[in-house]
Each structure stands twice: as C-alpha cells, then as structure tokens.
Symmetry: none
Subunit: 187 residues, 2 copies
Amino acid sequence: MEQQTQQQIEDGGNNQAAGTNNRWAPTPPQLRILKGLYYDKGFKYPTPEQIQEICLHLKQYGQIEDKNVFFWFQNLKARERQKLKEFRNVPVGGSLDLNFGSTGSTSNDRSIDLNFGSRVGYGVDGSIMEQRGEYHQEIETLPLFPMHGDDIFGNIKTTSEGGSGYGGDSRISLELSLNSYGDADMV
Amino acid sequence: MEQQTQQQIEDGGNNQAAGTNNRWAPTPPQLRILKGLYYDKGFKYPTPEQIQEICLHLKQYGQIEDKNVFFWFQNLKARERQKLKEFRNVPVGGSLDLNFGSTGSTSNDRSIDLNFGSRVGYGVDGSIMEQRGEYHQEIETLPLFPMHGDDIFGNIKTTSEGGSGYGGDSRISLELSLNSYGDADMV
DNA sequence: GCGATATGAATGAACG
DNA sequence: CGTTCATTCATATCGC
C-alpha cells in the first residue's frame, strides 16, 4: 500500500458535524494505534470483545464505533492479501488476447476471443496456496491498553474465571514504539 | 460535491524525489486495450488473475502495475455508475408518482447477528443480543435503502462461523502506553 | 497563474 | 473472506 501523501486529517479536535458526513475516518492517533496493533503486535484477528475494547480506548481520540474497528481490520487484512495475490507472478499460459481491434498498429492482427465470462475460469496455476494455516488467536493474550481508570469491564463481563495466570495484574508493558507507518512506506 | 476540510499536502520537509513518477498514466496503446476490453468486450469484472494477465500484456506498451489495472477498472465502473445516477434527476416533469400508502411493513428482517466469529453474544448496552439459529426465511423484502446502519453495528452480519470458536474469552487487559502528544502521524 | 475538470489512488462500507 | 460499491483525496491537464 503506497500511502504516499494522502492523509485526510480530520479537524483538530472534534468532528462529525452530524448529517453531512457519514463516513468515519480514523484520526491520526487512532490510526497510529490501530496500525501499531496490526503491524507491531501482529494482531490481526480481534475478537468481538477486543474490538469493543479497542473501540472504547480509541474513543478518546475521536468518535468511533465498533463497526469501524471491525471494518478496519477486515479491510486491512483483505487488502494485504489481495496485494500479495496480485503481485504473485503467475505462469499464465497466455490465453487472454489483448491485441484485438488493433487500430493501425504494427502487425499482429489475431482476434481470438478473450475467455472472459468465466470468472476464475482457467486456473492456469490453480495453486491458490493460501498460506493461511495460521492459528490466529494463538497470540498471547495481547495486552492492548492499560486500564487507566476506565471501567471497561463495567458491562462487558468477559467471564473472567480468574483461572488465568496472568490476568490479574501482570500487565505486559508493550511500549508501542512511536513508529509512524504513515510515512515509512514509499513507492 | 462539497468537500470538507481538504488538506493540501504539505510535505513535511520530505519532498518526493523528482523523476519518480507519482502517478501512473496509461499510454495510448494501453488505453486502447483497456477500453477495448471494457467497452467492446464488455469485460468489466476482471479477476485478480486476469488483472495480472492484462497487466503483463500491457507491460510491453509501457510501465504498468497490477494495481493500475485494478484501479482503472474500478474507477471506470464507478464513474459510469455515477453518471447514471446523476442523470436520474431528469426534469421529466409531470408524472409525479407517489406510491405512498404502501405500508412498508417495516420489517427489519436484517440479520442482526453480530457475532464476529465468536460465540459471544454480548450485550454491551442491551441493544443486540439476538442469536438465533441458522433458520432464515428468504425474505424478499427489496432493500430500498442499502440498510443504513448508522446505529451501532446493528447489521454487521459477518456470520463467520469458520473460526469454530476457540476460547471465546480473551482477556483484555490493556497496556500500550503511547505518548500521544506530538502526534507525528503526518506523512 | 487560477479554477474547473478528468482521472489515478485510497479506503470505509457492504455484499454474497 | 474475497470481491464490489461508494465516496473522497490528490494530481495532472486543460482553459481562461
């Protein structure tokens, strides 16, 4: 993803005039946190509880809803995967004729038909090789945010059986490095 | 048509190296082929594999990447659709048909299962906690509006049960102290 | 030199 | 989850 010089800054503090803008856009701090979770922590499969938790925490940086967090992760995952797929060189057998209707070009005038109409018809390679054998979620109970004072569990009730070893207080200090993904990428 | 706070790119001291083409533009032959596929062949939904293939062929006419082909089709489709919508405001005059009285039955049938793949069914605020079986009744309620779920994700029907539910519970102890002052998210 | 337009690029939201 | 839609941002080009 070449996020070059595109960044839609939301207004400095508040946002959403309500009515004119329907589409959520992450504020810079929100983006940073989300990316930190995804890239730094490798946290890509948030559970509903975690989505809510993340959302709650992000609310102090701007208006946001659960579904926004949900979509954000979904889209990022999907697009990374899509990118990999597109960049993968396929040993195409060369069936797609693109030289039809050559308007006075050099030579070559074959007008074979394009085998469109068949979505994913020819699996030249066929090897989808979805290296998705992940056991996602095997990630160690990621420590997202400190409790601060927010009673996040006020109504979520994560069924804390207490049996967990770490749950109580062993908060792993995950000092998210202030890495800016926004500009680290280049084309 | 109304744009909000449009931020102009103000490179924070890191200007893009000149010479590196920022933006791809199709060469005449490329454009001819692309248009030929779209209009002549009616080929509008290329699969990722086909995108690669098209891109490969187009490379002999100039530098091009997969994503360029991808975006080209996306944009063309989107803009044609956009044009059609704009012209639907035809001042046809007269024939003001109002099918009021159609007691729309207000059947909010939309699947409201907000199980993000887990079997949680939490009710943060008691809004959604409905977890029904797989029984769906193929309702043909034509979705006049593509369901504007402005409320909480009252209609995120991910219905992804593939996860098969692991622990389900995930401790959400949070940490991640990031100093958000400064906020250098700019690009 | 600007303003309007065309279009490449990005991404939130939604569908199947 | 992969794909598609819709909206917006960003920029090159054109016209005045």
